[in-house]
């Protein structure tokens, strides 16, 4: 196996996957956008390099499609600052996440079979 550390994964490589990833981290529980990003970075082992602003249009698309439900909180827990919007998975979102996982597993199997494992 190569001794070089893996290259970061940026938004271009993630094209089309960010929504499924957001659904996956929200499976842990309700979260606001910044927390979703932290969960993605934690699970990505520090190799994800997202433009943070890109997360929000993805969340809006998911909400528009009924895969997420959002609510606004004013000053939760006495926190000072703007109102906070939190998201949670809907049952439709869970089904879409499962479909996304199956699609990804197929993708990995097919492309991995072509490209082969690293030496």
């Amino acid at each position: 196996m190569s001794s070089k550390s893996p290259a970061p994964i940026d938004g271009v490589q993630l094209r089309g996957r960010l929504e499924t990833m957001a659904l996956a981290v929200l499976e842990e529980g309700e979260a606001h956008g910044f927390e979703v990003l932290r969960r993605l970075e934690a699970r990505g082992c520090g190799l994800l390099k997202l433009r943070e602003g890109s997360l929000y249009p993805a969340l809006y698309r998911l909400e528009e499609r009924g895969l997420l439900k959002a609510r606004w909180e004013d000053n939760p827990g006495g926190r000072k600052g703007p109102a906070r919007k939190t998201y949670r998975l809907t049952p439709k979102g869970r089904r879409q996440l499962q479909a996304g996982r199956e699609e990804w597993a197929t993708f990995v199997t097919v492309i991995g079979g072509i490209v082969g494992a690293p030496e």
């Binding site: 606001h32 956008g33 910044f34 433009r51 890109s54 929000y56 249009p57 528009e64 703007p82 906070r84």
Partner: protein
């Protein structure tokens, strides 16, 4: 859910974050209410990101710059947000552009302009019905005597002008109450407007039904006019209620006058 500590941001730092948000959101063609929600959420993100940097030992200015840089290119974010704007959002944006912007920030001018538009639209609708009736088009229920229709169009247009004058005056009162932060007064003004409008509508209906005995279709006219007037009154009341409730935070944000910082680049 994790929480960064409640470190209070310096107002200058928060303003810098707001300018960064505004660079991305202001060019989006969407209703102002939707844009306000996006603004709030992006600002919350930048505040948390900045606080996380400060908790890690960065000074506030460096933490703010890093948070803004991590957000990405504002133009790219504008394009991504714009791609998600719905048809309803674009229609709301068109309304903002065509109706609200020309009136500036004055509720008085906006209310008067809306009353003129609605009066004019109803007058045009009735004139069109009259013309169609002259040529024999439309269902039997629309075959009103054209001269009566034209008189109705004149009345509706006059109503629009009177409503515009009343709306302008009511708008001036509302501007004064808002400047004084008098929310009780604002609610009372809304209820008084709704009550006055309803009385005007009922009075018009009764005058039409009783005051024109020579018109053979006055009963039918009264029902049609009553139906249109009830719809008009209900729509005006609902829109005014929504307007007071939802525009206040929008105008608070827009009143921040970030234009100098935005132009500085």
């Amino acid at each position: 859910m994790s929480e960064t500590t409640g470190v209070q941001l310096d107002p200058k730092i928060e303003r810098r974050l707001r300018v960064a948000v505004e660079r991305a959101v202001r060019p989006v063609f969407d209703g102002e209410l939707n844009k306000l929600k996006v603004r709030r959420e992006l600002l919350d993100h930048l505040v948390e990101s900045c606080r996380a940097g400060m908790n890690a030992g960065e000074d506030p200015s460096t933490a703010a710059d890093a948070a803004i840089a991590r957000m990405g290119d504002p133009a790219a974010l504008t394009a991504e947000v714009q791609a998600g704007v719905t048809l309803a959002g674009r229609i709301a944006a068109l309304n903002e552009w065509a109706v609200r912007r020309p009136c500036g920030g004055s509720h008085a001018r906006h209310a008067a302009w809306m009353a003129c538009l609605m009066g004019g639209m109803m007058g045009a609708l009735l004139l069109a019905s009259s013309t169609m009736a002259e040529f024999g088009f439309g269902p039997d229920g629309l075959r009103f005597r054209p001269v009566v229709i034209r008189m109705m169009a004149f009345l509706v247009t006059s109503f629009g002008v009177v409503a515009a004058a009343g709306a302008w005056f009511g708008g001036r009162v509302r501007d004064t109450l808002e400047a004084a932060g008098n929310r009780v007064g604002l609610r009372a003004l809304l209820l008084a407007t709704a009550a006055g409008l309803s009385l005007a509508v009922v009075g018009s209906v009764m005058w039409l039904a009783v005051g024109w005995p020579a018109v053979p279709w006055s009963g039918q006219f009264a029902r049609s006019w009553a139906a249109l007037s009830v719809i008009f009154a209900a729509a005006t009341i609902a829109l005014s209620w929504l307007d007071i409730r939802e525009r206040e935070p929008i105008e608070q944000w827009l009143a921040l006058d970030l234009s100098g910082d935005l132009d500085a680049g």
